[in-house]
Symmetry: C2
Subunit: 451 residues, 2 copies
């Protein structure tokens, strides 16, 4: 047993407590600001989803003082419930960021906790951004240590690893010492939860909300002295062994501060399962180039990585949420409607007969030789013609990252209907300039409707 | 695949929704009232523990309206946080009930949620008791389906199975239909958490609090329409397969309404790990019979079931909480002090040199031929004499159940210092007569200090 196996939790806690923002490289800071902006657009955009309404109705009678903004909405909530609600809304469109090595959506648990905390207990933008970087690092490193076995077993890794990220980030803002940071990680470990069986239901975004809320609570409890194991990650009955058959502790402990996982973060151009994206690139390109109409299509044949069918193989989705995990629906919508935004994943569009007519003509073959970020799309028309598109790297992948301009367009499309274009521009500016903010509470206020 | 594998969640939900209290046999009702009373004594008795103070300090600023009593205390909290706090206090002494087939502490998650809910939304004692029976049945059956593999893997089963019990019981009081009951069980499944690594720390009672709070939230969310998988227990990526290598679905579905797990509930005479109890019976009997003093003792030799050392093998506990999981400390305290109550598990007593002097002379040998509820205790004295006691069945076991009188003594010892003897008598009466109460809100009010 190496030293790292003996002291994983403590070493991680030490690093979170002792990291100096001066040593965080500029590209990391810039990516963190992009991560924040993409998350905020998603949180505002998703804030009127039924799952947020339901949570407010169900838990509203038990919420505390209106201490913090619920992003995108007029309601305010106590800090813990604001974390829950922000986490739900930021993930409900499946439009948030993706750490492709682990399929963790890093911002959800961390930013959903930090934004309301910073609104309630003022901190500088500098400290806020630092905590965001640290939280993302913690959750992604823990994810790296257990992925893919942990995910394959059925855990929704953004929930299970995310709760650590929220605890670490909040713990840093609360100024925990190393021992209490260990306890915060312990209270996070022992709340790690979320099953992949819930994909396609409202419980999926709920996982992200709970990870934010429970991680924040873990840090608050540790700050007051709630004890926990100081070997919560690596002990024989700790997180890594109980929830995974793989434990790569070096992935947690090695090179802390030398490399940053947030540099591997990616941002989606389409609000659905990321494995569908290359097929959508191909369909949209083909539709534009050849002016295809839904009625023309005889058959659509996809060759895709096996994970595509495993994750998104639902042939007959009934709801918008299910549609986000159906490569068949998404491809049908792309070929009929020519775009795949939030509007293409409503219950109505998923049930639209023009879309289902094409959806039912889509077949997909799993092919291990196709890259996860690639796809081959072949369309046969009723008139006998056929077209093929090969996508090597999906847009939004690490190799073809979403540009700043495309991200701003995405955020405007999400937020303008709720905040108005001018306020959305101010929100984008606040995110871009977050490191220079005197009071990071500006962020939450910029993401709520005025008046 | 049998039908039961296909529809475990739905069948359980149907039964919870459709069960008729008229068909619940009298002995079940009586045992449920005993379960309630034992739990209430523990919740009141544990309510001044540091872990409860810490939780109130840490989360108090975020709590909602004072809707419900925090048992044993003057503070009130919103219903969800009252559930959390009651769950913590009821388990922190490790003095609560035990379903020996699974080592689940059944009342904690269920009653901790039901009592504040019933205080906030009035229901009859009859409906309250019925919901308690159903919640205990659900958590113990789910426990039976996965125990012992699930527990052996490192899950704290009272947390993981308990959240289902709280959801089912609260869902019944909220009048959920079958579909929403399935969603409540789904939201419970996807919040199932709690690691055995936390034993001996304050996170352990926190698991019970969170199971109560999260199960109640699951029912509230389902009532408003938060969707979840309707196969949350049995699906390939559902609870039973992700969190256990054993899935005995017949243990969940067979004979619902014909047998009741609450009839297998037991109540501890000593506030520590149940596997220690037979050794304590032997020590206390021996001390009384032979008038042993700590200074006389040369050596103590225990022959015990292997689980005793696995669960309580800590030779040098430092805190009261750690002492509850040290057969060495407990036996030392029994031989020095002649009794093993709450007072014998304070930090002071665990560090008391008279106790540690005997503790350090205790050795224990695991012996698979010794029954889990038995032990052989041998004491050698400095004067050369030696004594041996063989305990076949510990007091408080199913074969030697705690009598009503002994339970009342236990509850008085726990509650009198906080409520006074007269109020404790009224609380005991309310529990005994729960089925006849017009308003079950009486229970919570009876368990808080007057004036």
């Amino acid at each position: 047993m190496s030293t790292s196996e003996l002291e994983v939790t403590r070493r991680l806690a030490e690093w979170v407590c002792e990291s100096d923002f001066q040593t965080v490289p500029d590209p990391v800071r810039e990516e963190a600001a992009r991560t924040l902006l993409n998350w905020m657009g998603c949180a505002v955009g998703g804030s009127r989803h039924e799952s947020v309404d339901i949570t407010l109705r169900a838990l509203g009678p038990f919420m505390g003082q209106p201490q913090a903004s619920v992003l995108g909405r007029a309601e305010r909530a106590d800090v813990l419930h604001a974390s829950l609600l922000n986490g739900i809304s930021s993930h409900v469109f499946d439009f948030d960021d993706t750490h492709l090595r682990t399929i963790i959506h890093p911002a959800g648990p961390v930013a959903s906790a930090l934004v309301p905390l910073a609104e309630h207990r003022p901190v500088s933008g500098h400290d806020f951004l630092h905590a965001l970087v640290l939280g993302v690092e913690v959750e992604c490193r823990i994810g790296n240590a257990v992925y893919p076995d942990h995910y394959d077993a059925g855990w929704h890794i953004t929930g299970t690893a995310g709760v650590f990220g929220a605890a670490a980030a909040a713990g840093r803002l609360l100024g925990l010492d190393v021992r209490r940071m260990c306890w915060a990680l312990a209270a996070a470990a022992t709340q790690a939860a979320g099953l992949r069986e819930m994909f396609g239901t409202m419980c999926k975004p709920f996982h992200i909300g709970r990870a934010a809320q429970n991680g924040l609570a873990a840090a608050l409890l540790a700050a007051e002295g709630l004890t926990g194991s100081e070997r919560a990650i690596e002990a024989p009955r700790g997180f890594a062994r109980v929830l995974s058959t793989k434990q790569d502790y070096a992935a947690i402990c090695d090179g802390l501060g030398d490399s940053y996982e947030i540099l591997l973060n990616t941002y989606k151009p389409y609000p659905c399962g990321v494995v569908i994206h290359p097929s959508l690139d191909g369909c949209i390109r083909m539709k534009r180039e050849h002016g295809l109409a839904g009625d023309d299509i005889e058959a659509v044949e996809l060759r895709v990585h096996p994970l595509v069918l495993e994750l998104t193989g639902n042939k007959t989705p009934r709801t918008g949420l299910e549609g986000k995990f159906s490569v068949y629906h998404a491809v049908g919508a792309a070929l009929v409607l020519g775009q795949v935004g939030v509007a293409e994943f409503t219950d109505e569009v998923v049930q639209d007969s023009r879309v289902t007519a094409v959806r039912d003509r889509v077949s997909a073959v799993a092919d291990g030789s196709v890259h996860e970020a690639g796809a081959v799309v072949r369309v046969r028309l009723k008139d006998g013609r056929s077209f093929e598109e090969t996508v090597e790297q999906a847009s939004g992948s690490l190799e073809r990252p979403l540009s700043n301009e495309a991200m701003e367009d995405k955020v405007h499309a999400l937020a303008d209907p709720l905040l108005g274009a001018e306020s959305t521009r101010a929100m984008i500016r606040a995110c871009r300039e977050v490191a220079d903010l005197e009071d990071a509470g500006v962020l939450a206020r910029a993401a709520t409707p005025k008046g």
